[in-house]
């Protein structure tokens, strides 16, 4: 039973059931579609949806799909595999039919029975996927299939929540392959207020038609789109869900405002009330706080002491959440509030954040809750009127009019620092004047720094030995401290070794000797690294070393990506500083060295490199300060030009020769520093 488990892949939850009359029979394919070999609007596409239709009906509890796909390339033949995941307890898939049409018009019908495979089962919950593979698919084939998804109304478990489960389809408008033409329709229940959250190309809108003239609620939604590009795939994109073309339907509660401003005003009040309910300090919590802080402490000191106390709790996002059976055996309460979290000394990141809020209030401090969208997953959009998009709690401490955002649910996060996922993130916050929409501050580049310094002794044959110090603050330090919670010290060193292995020159080996400050989030995190091996190359008269120790393998982003469709999202601003001193072999002198360089990208980033030469030593320093987090596609060529210049500059070499005369061009005797 020793078997490794790999859980990977993607899953599309088919949580909606709708209807539409499926195509009873396929229509003849137009000869032009059989002949086409590419779509000039989407050059290079492997396949294309010539036509896609989806029709959902809340009344009929079913959902119908039709797809006609043209295969352009060998890779496009993968479109022949159709996977349809669904909740088997509550849905069923039927009426599958399909055919493959060859370019010469030959038709091969789908006659292999689709396989119904279990994807996941836990107790009574079962997720399955129906899979079929279109027959005889060739480059040039047209694939055509249709199927229907039914909601099983007799299911007893969901009987009480049927109306919730049946009526919220999500139209996936942007797909793996470009879409030439698509039509979507949703016949929604008229008993509730249906809302649509569309992310669509400019000029495209959902059509809403009243199903029953004279009725105040419209419930027939439709959308027609043409020439939709495929899902983009670029490095450093914002979260895909934030810009992928799609339409998500959801229902409003009776009395909810239908305009975003009105909705969020009311929703913020509801949310704030629930937060206050959870975070109201009980007597026990007051007593606990009294034991943690002294009356003579300043407000800031109190806040810091309480922060340390909640950080020390078992944060189940970084350890392990107790299973349901374990909680039952331990007789732990299910309904929880701040006091429960404190009593159990355990909670998830949001629970711990709200516990901290409660403790601050118990200590008499002014503090507010804020709930934001995790920027790693999505970006807040007020037009999607649902609290469901908010997922991360942070706390705002107000001390003498100065507000500080705190992230106590993020284990090992220093006081007054937040995880990048919660910086520049929008959501709701409490305030003295009542709750409202807000955004957390964006971090300065100086808050997230990595500084690598070292002293390396070079032998005449290029062999080196030395020690590096890698100092980390901000997000990089947070990353490794959180990693250290999940693995032991030895494994952490191995993982760090693997990380630096990708940046030291080939032929050089680097091993972490030890860390300093790993358990103290408010201090600098320092990794002491031993390096040895052979650096550079020799000729009869010279020894040539890479000028920039950590950049010999390249690694600057965007250098080889000529075009950009989507914005660049670097997650957070940051600064890298390197300063390495080579102790030169006796009898060798510097014949050439990297020139000083200053490469600005105004208002965005700055690169500075300097070289200092003294007797028997040469020191090369570089600073790359990146002040931007997001760059729009229109800025991409400037961004790329900046990184190309940096990458090219970092290929400079140090030439040592046995000649006694030193050639100092390109070097300076001024102290190395940064501007």
């Amino acid at each position: 039973m020793r078997k490794p488990l790999f859980l990977q892949g993607a899953f599309v939850l088919l949580a909606a059931a709708c209807s539409l009359a499926a195509r009873a029979q396929f229509q003849p394919v137009h000869p032009d579609e059989l002949k086409m070999t590419a779509d000039p609007k989407f050059p290079g596409a492997d396949a294309e949806y010539l036509d896609y239709e989806e029709s959902d009906s809340a009344q009929q509890h079913s959902q119908s799909y039709y797809a006609r796909i043209k295969v352009f390339t060998e890779k496009g033949k993968e479109a022949a595999t159709v996977q349809l995941p669904y909740f088997a307890n509550d849905f069923s898939i039927s009426n599958i039919s399909g055919r493959t049409i060859h370019p010469d018009g030959t038709i091969v019908p789908l006659n292999v029975k689709p396989e119904d495979l279990v994807v996941f089962q836990n107790g009574a919950i079962q997720v399955k996927q129906t899979v079929f593979n279109m027959p005889s698919v060739e480059v040039g084939s047209v694939i055509e299939y249709t199927y229907r998804l039914y909601f099983n109304e007799q299911n007893q478990y969901f009987a009480g929540v049927l109306s919730i489960f049946q009526i919220s389809p999500e139209w996936t408008v942007q797909r793996r392959y470009p879409v030439r033409k698509a039509h979507y329709q949703f016949l929604a229940s008229s008993s509730m207020s249906v809302m649509a959250f569309p992310i669509l190309p400019p000029g495209k809108n959902i059509q809403i038609t009243p199903s029953n003239p004279g009725q105040p609620l419209y419930n027939n939604f439709s959308l027609d789109v043409t020439d939709i590009p495929p899902i983009p795939d670029e490095e450093w994109m914002p979260p895909l869900r934030s810009f992928l073309y799609r339409v998500m339907f959801y229902y409003k509660a009776v009395g909810d405002a239908l305009d975003p401003d009105g909705y969020w005003k009311a929703a913020a009040k509801t949310w704030s009330k629930e937060i206050d309910h959870f975070a109201t300090p009980s007597k026990n919590l007051h007593d606990a706080v009294a034991g943690l802080v002294a009356p003579t402490d300043s407000d800031l000191t109190k806040a810091q002491k309480l922060y340390a106390a909640v950080q020390a709790l078992d944060n189940t996002n970084f350890s392990r959440a107790k299973t349901a059976s374990e909680r039952r055996d331990l007789k732990l309460k299910t309904e929880r509030n701040a006091e429960d979290i404190w009593t159990q000394k355990s909670g998830n990141r949001n629970e711990i954040a709200l516990l901290y809020l409660a403790m601050l209030r118990a200590a008499g401090l002014t503090a507010y809750a804020m709930q934001v969208v995790d920027r790693n997953r999505d970006i807040f959009d007020p037009s999607y009127m649902s609290l469901a998009q908010l997922n991360s709690d942070v706390v705002i401490l107000s001390d003498g009019g100065k507000e500080t955002v705190l992230d106590p649910g993020e284990r090992m996060c220093p006081f007054a620092t937040v995880s990048w996922k919660h910086s520049g993130a929008e959501g709701l916050r409490q305030n003295a004047n009542g709750p409202s929409r807000a955004q957390t501050p964006v971090q300065a580049f100086s808050a997230n720094a990595v500084k690598r310094t070292g002293d390396i002794t070079v032998a005449p044959n290029g062999a080196i030995q030395g020690t590096l110090q890698i100092a980390m603050t901000g997000q990089e330090a947070l990353f490794w401290r959180q990693r250290a919670i999940k693995v032991d010290a030895q494994e952490l060193k191995k993982q760090f070794d693997r990380e630096i292995e990708t940046s030291v020159p080939e032929g050089v080996v680097a091993h972490v000797d030890h860390f300093l400050g790993l358990d103290h989030p408010d201090k600098l995190l320092l990794a002491i690294v031993q390096v040895n091996g052979v650096l550079g190359t020799t000729t009869a008269k010279r020894l040539i070393l890479p000028g920039f120790f950590f950049q010999t393998r390249g690694g600057e982003p965007f250098v080889s990506e000529a075009k950009r469709l989507e914005p660049v999202d670097m997650r957070y601003a940051a600064q890298d500083v390197d300063q390495l001193t080579y102790e030169l072999p006796a009898g060798m002198a510097v014949e050439g060295a990297p020139e000083d360089a200053k490469i600005p990208w105004p208002d965005h980033a700055l690169y500075i490199a300097k070289t200092r030469q003294t007797s028997g030593q040469i020191t090369v320093a570089r600073v790359l300060a990146r002040a931007f987090t997001l760059a729009q596609p229109g800025e991409y060529q400037d961004l790329r030009s900046f990184y190309q210049k940096v990458a090219a500059a970092e290929q400079a070499q140090i030439v040592l020769s046995t000649a006694t005369k030193e050639i100092t061009s390109g070097t300076t005797s001024a102290p190395v520093g940064t501007e």
């Binding site: 892949g9 890779k75 993968e78 279990v118 996941f120 107790g123 191995k494 050439g592 050639i663």
Partner: protein, 669 residues
């Protein structure tokens, strides 16, 4: 092909798991009752101290015992008892699981956890999940293999550092299965392990051992045998470079039962081959459509080789890799007619259709189970443990075409051409590098036997690249590269072309070039892909690299080896495992760099001339007029070296690396 010891649950759906794990459901009656006391075997295992050699491991298996009970019909019921102690936070993922298919059944599965402070928990129904399996292909999100097999996994309660997990399961094994592959080595240590085989009266068995000396069993009762192994170290290859596959190095024992079980290895291989041949009997029978297609393909073919090319390329080009395996479908192919109609199938399906089409034109061919990880199939350890199926094509006695290189001779002298129809891009006559140097089971009925797969001459694989560049005084390098890739290397690049579109292709190539030229811009990229797989694939591209060369005073420094790295440095530690050289082949590169006006060559790197039994490397830089010429030929002659040759390999590769970094020093006149 179904692999009897590798679970195939990669294509599970994590998001669903995460979502559903949080969904509360009404409790259901347990499969096994509630709060059973910790069984006596677990109490005994709990007394096992953590061995000292496990100090660096994330967890240790204190006890692992299998009991295989075979009934009169040869069907097995397997009981496993296992105790795992979690030593480090990252050890939590060493859970217990049981895989089962449509023709198998889990009779029971229980788990207890005893925490470091002595509290006992028992897993309930909600702690068990079943996940389906499959494999993605090269295109993300699209499976090429799906299976009806599921894996039941327990997520133990109180799974914290210091806790010990005790699992006990019983499973009825598929009726056709006559082999137990006992994986006696894991990534973590195993303090004590045992396997019992309880046969019906008079039952036969045979055992074979891979990477471990045979252990003698004790007959604990009539026809009931027990093997025990203590203190097996973990096999962790994570920080070892260029190592063979983990499965090739991990110790295992295979045990078979039934009338065919034989301690004579040749006889056992023969029995396994016969079983395979019987299982696939009539699957390749050609339909009229297959016969017509095959005869049309070979019409006009001038010789045996041409016939083979016509049919193998048809399979390679037209049969897409995809399959859903159900039960014994992990071993048994679909009928050839079905594969031909649908134009898709897995490795054994492709082999089936190939055998069928060859049969239709009078050429005999056979199934050959293998593993695509060299070293997993062990000639001294007969077993069906493997993950792939290829084809052995019987050669006429007088057939000596030199293009048919991947030839093996059976014990009776019959020669077979080994061919992998699943590899869509390696031409017939050649052999994918991953198969070379391994073993395969020739499933030829009574003539079945294990055969060593050939290691081909370096000339059968490699590349020939030439580049012409001009270097400007500001360091900018511009130029053109023309490359030919042939053999399996050409096949790899053809696959790259198949699974990339224009944009991906350009980005991937630019990234590849940027590893050596970080600021590069590809000015053009063109490829020529001849229809005939035996012809080399051509890549032609032009590039601009600003600041390729660097000023240092009056000097200009330029690397003479412009593109591509062949150096593979092993880690700087004592070596215990063999060195995997990957593939034999010959890679030749020639670069001419025109110097900027006014510059002359002051120094060039020293030439390198290395010649060993496993590889050779010859590189030299010369200056002719205003042109710097670099040339190297790198030849690999073996696919694997023993660990004892690590220092030789390190020296060799260090010299390669030094040469690749070599700089020419140019001086302004």
């Amino acid at each position: 092909m179904k692999n009897p010891f590798v679970p195939r649950i990669e294509f599970a759906f994590a998001l669903a798991a995460v979502f559903l794990a949080g969904v509360a459901r009404p409790a259901h009656a347990g499969w096994f009752g509630k709060d059973d006391p910790l069984p006596s075997w677990a109490l005994d295992a709990a007394k096992t101290p953590t061995p000292a050699y496990a100090d660096h491991s994330s967890a240790v298996i204190l006890f692992d015992e299998y009991v295989e009970t075979i009934d009169a019909q040869g069907r097995a019921v397997e009981r496993e008892r296992e105790a795992i102690r979690i030593l480090k936070p990252q050890g939590r993922h060493h859970d217990c699981s049981v895989s089962y298919d449509v023709d198998e059944k889990i009779n029971s599965f229980r788990e207890w956890t005893v925490t470091a402070d002595g509290k006992t928990f028992q897993a309930k129904d909600t702690d068990f999940v079943d996940v389906g399996g499959g494999e993605e292909g090269i295109v993300p999100g699209i499976p090429v293999l799906l299976v009806t097999e599921r894996t039941r996994i327990v997520h133990p309660p109180a799974e914290d550092v210091g806790a010990t997990i005790y699992c006990e399961s019983e499973e009825q094994i598929a009726p056709w299965n006559r082999e137990k592959v006992w994986s006696i080595q894991s990534t973590i240590p195993i303090a004590h392990q045992a396997l019992e085989l309880d046969l019906p009266p008079g039952g036969h068995y045979a055992d074979s051992w891979h990477q471990h000396p045979p252990v003698q069993p004790v007959e604990v009762a009539p026809d009931h045998w027990r093997w025990e192994i203590d203190n097996m170290h973990g096999l962790d290859l994570r920080d070892i470079h260029v190592h063979p596959a983990w499965r090739a190095l991990a110790a295992r024992m295979s045990i078979y039962w039934g009338a065919d079980a034989s301690t004579d290895k040749d006889a056992e291989w023969r029995a396994l081959g016969q079983w395979t041949a019987d299982l696939e009997a009539h699957r390749p029978d050609p339909t009229p459509e297959i016969t017509a297609e095959a005869q049309k393909l070979v019409a006009g073919a001038p010789d045996f080789y041409a016939k083979l090319v016509a049919i193998t390329e048809y399979i390679q080009n037209n049969i897409r890799y995809f399959v859903i395996e159900r039960g014994i479908g992990g071993f048994q192919a679909h009928p050839a007619g079905e594969i031909y109609r649908n134009r898709y199938g897995d490795c054994k399906d492709k082999t089936t259709l190939l055998i069928s089409m060859l049969q239709a034109v009078g050429i005999e061919a056979f199934y050959m189970p293998v593993d695509d990880r060299r070293g997993v199939v062990d000639a001294n350890a007969p077993s069906l443990a493997g993950n792939h199926m290829i084809t052995a094509i019987r050669l006429p006695a007088d057939e000596r075409d030199p293009r048919l290189m991947a030839v093996v001779a059976a014990k009776d002298g019959t020669r077979y051409l080994i061919f992998d129809p699943t590899d869509e891009r390696t031409p017939v006559g050649n052999l994918p590098s991953y198969l070379q140097g391994g073993y395969g089971l020739l499933a030829a009925g009574p003539l079945s036997q294990v055969v060593a797969l050939p290691v081909l001459d370096p000339a059968a694989n490699g590349a020939d690249e030439s580049g012409t560049f001009a270097l400007a005084a500001d360091g900018t390098l511009t130029g053109q590269v023309d490359a030919l890739y042939f053999g399996p290397e050409g096949g790899n690049f053809r696959s790259f072309l198949k699974f990339t579109d224009d944009k991906e292709r350009r980005e991937a190539w630019e990234s590849f070039v940027a590893e050596d030229l970080p600021g590069v811009t590809l000015d053009s990229l063109r490829f020529v892909q001849p229809d005939a797989l035996s012809k080399p694939l051509e890549f032609h591209f032009s590039l601009t690299e600003p600041r390729y060369a660097h000023n240092a005073g009056t000097l200009l420094l330029a690397r003479t080896h412009v593109l591509g790295s062949a150096a593979r440095l092993p880690e700087d530690k004592p070596r215990k495992v063999p060195i995997n050289l990957g593939a034999t082949g010959r890679w030749r590169e020639r670069y001419d760099i025109a110097l900027p006006p006014g510059y002359v060559v002051d120094e060039t790197p020293d030439p390198v001339d290395l010649d060993t039994d496993f590889a050779s490397y010859h590189a030299a830089t010369t200056a002719k007029g205003n042109t710097l010429h670099y040339e190297r030929v790198y030849t690999v002659r073996k696919v694997e070296l023993p660990a004892s040759r690590a220092e030789d390999f390190r020296k060799f590769e260090s010299a390669v690396l030094d040469d690749e970094k070599g700089m020419a020093v140019l001086r302004k006149q």
